[in-house]
Symmetry: C3
Amino acid sequence: MFQQIFSPSVQHTLDLIGIFVFAISGALLAVRKNFDVFGIAVLAEATALGGGLFRDLVIGAVPPAAFTDLGYFLTPLLATLLVFFLHPQVERIQVGVNVFDAAGLGLFCVAGTTKAYEYGLGLTASAALGLVTAVGGGVVRDVLANEVPSLLRWDRDLYAVPAIVGAALTALCIGYDVLNPLTSALAAVAAFVLRLLAMRFHWRAPRAWNRRSTVREEPPDQAAPPKATA
Amino acid sequence: MFQQIFSPSVQHTLDLIGIFVFAISGALLAVRKNFDVFGIAVLAEATALGGGLFRDLVIGAVPPAAFTDLGYFLTPLLATLLVFFLHPQVERIQVGVNVFDAAGLGLFCVAGTTKAYEYGLGLTASAALGLVTAVGGGVVRDVLANEVPSLLRWDRDLYAVPAIVGAALTALCIGYDVLNPLTSALAAVAAFVLRLLAMRFHWRAPRAWNRRSTVREEPPDQAAPPKATA
Amino acid sequence: MFQQIFSPSVQHTLDLIGIFVFAISGALLAVRKNFDVFGIAVLAEATALGGGLFRDLVIGAVPPAAFTDLGYFLTPLLATLLVFFLHPQVERIQVGVNVFDAAGLGLFCVAGTTKAYEYGLGLTASAALGLVTAVGGGVVRDVLANEVPSLLRWDRDLYAVPAIVGAALTALCIGYDVLNPLTSALAAVAAFVLRLLAMRFHWRAPRAWNRRSTVREEPPDQAAPPKATA
């Protein structure tokens, strides 16, 4: 992804970091759902690679990077091992995991937008696909775990908006022909900081006006993330 | 889709109408599930574009139409805005929405079959893919919303059969080399009318013989669609 | 798949057997979930063809075999008819179905690995895709039926491990250039026997260490497969 912009090794390292933190989030959900070690590995792989896999299928980049780069495949397995043996410790540093996840979100929305544009999509479609790259893995994770995707729930802090901002900024930079390592990094940082602020101040998006839902809302203790116990 | 048959602008308008009404059905489910505005938009896009996206990936038409035509991407956002601000009104005209959804079903099963055949699939496979184009978006919608797909449930009025009839009629017309705007329209209308009749008379498909299911059936008030309140 | 290895007709017959038994497992779940006859057909098709369809999309083999070979499409419909009319009898021979499903698992992990390698993937990626070919249909089945994928659950007998072993053996044979009908068959038989042993002795994979899950475990009578009644 945006190979021309960063040196390949820097970009590859950033990709692997993003994959690693997304895999951690998948593995942690698998532990909470009582899955066995293979379930943990499957959910880690799907969360880490799902978004990029969908993007590559849409733009016709087959076989997708997830199946051609061994590092992409092995990194989620590393995350699986870590969570398998140390998950109470990993959950205790949930804040740290969330910060890394925000970094992954920032990196992936920029990289996804750039790669989609390189494959000939328009600017709007590239930004939309960048968004899907960033948030798609989390949706696959929640669908496989038979949960309502956290992305769609109103009682979760903003997740789509930071990715939309990062992808839109990247598309704007491409449109004005000023995409370079600096502006790419700025777009990623904007998404990253926005996500951190959303988590810090519990920013949420509005639900429909005059809502008269017939769906019973879950009790708050269900909706809250599980507490990590010492 | 079937560009040679209707004039492109007529066909494009029909496509956008189908996309719009499918998006409305996705957005309404999102409101019922208490999703926030981004959840509504995601479900609207997925419902409207999911079936065609799957078809385009299968026939190798990448990037899919959903990512190359800006109108396809923006129409579901329009539906999102409408439902976000006016959803009690939209639900009150649920009957009207259902009629449009039936129209979308008719249009998409014909267009999907035709496009699949143009890309070299056999007649049976084309009809199967036309069916998937028509009903796929609704399945994606229900899977993302963590519900049993309405398509599969026995307590829903026939939905697959009208699409199967429309797709099969289209494949027959292709097979006998009589596909033209008139026969295409007839196939779409046949699916449309069949769906309207199924809704009007609550036609349902049989379940397996000698059923001794161990799954508790949901109480009827759960299964019934939510009432719109004035 | 691996056309050069077995004579095409033998391979095709093996494929159809695998598709048939996977379709049976999808159709039986649909009956338990109270789906109507079209829901049974959809779940049978998705279970039987889902894994191979995903593999073909990833390796760029479009249109996928599922849409070019009429036999692949019709076999699940045959399974649907059988289960629709005779499902108490089919459930009573659940043991037999499980044995055939294990055979399908063995065949598909070998065939999937071989086909992925033929399309240019590396050995590790080919084995991973062989695994996905074998277990993907079951995941699609469970996601469509709105259940936690049986593949991920700790309270199910080992399913992934036999497929991993079969796929890895196949990749090893390719790597040492000794893949032939005999070694292919041995790899498939290894996966088959391992799965039979896992079912016989209820082998299960471990869950994460120091598990303190906040998810309530389902009561055992829910988790147990439904009894077949005479």
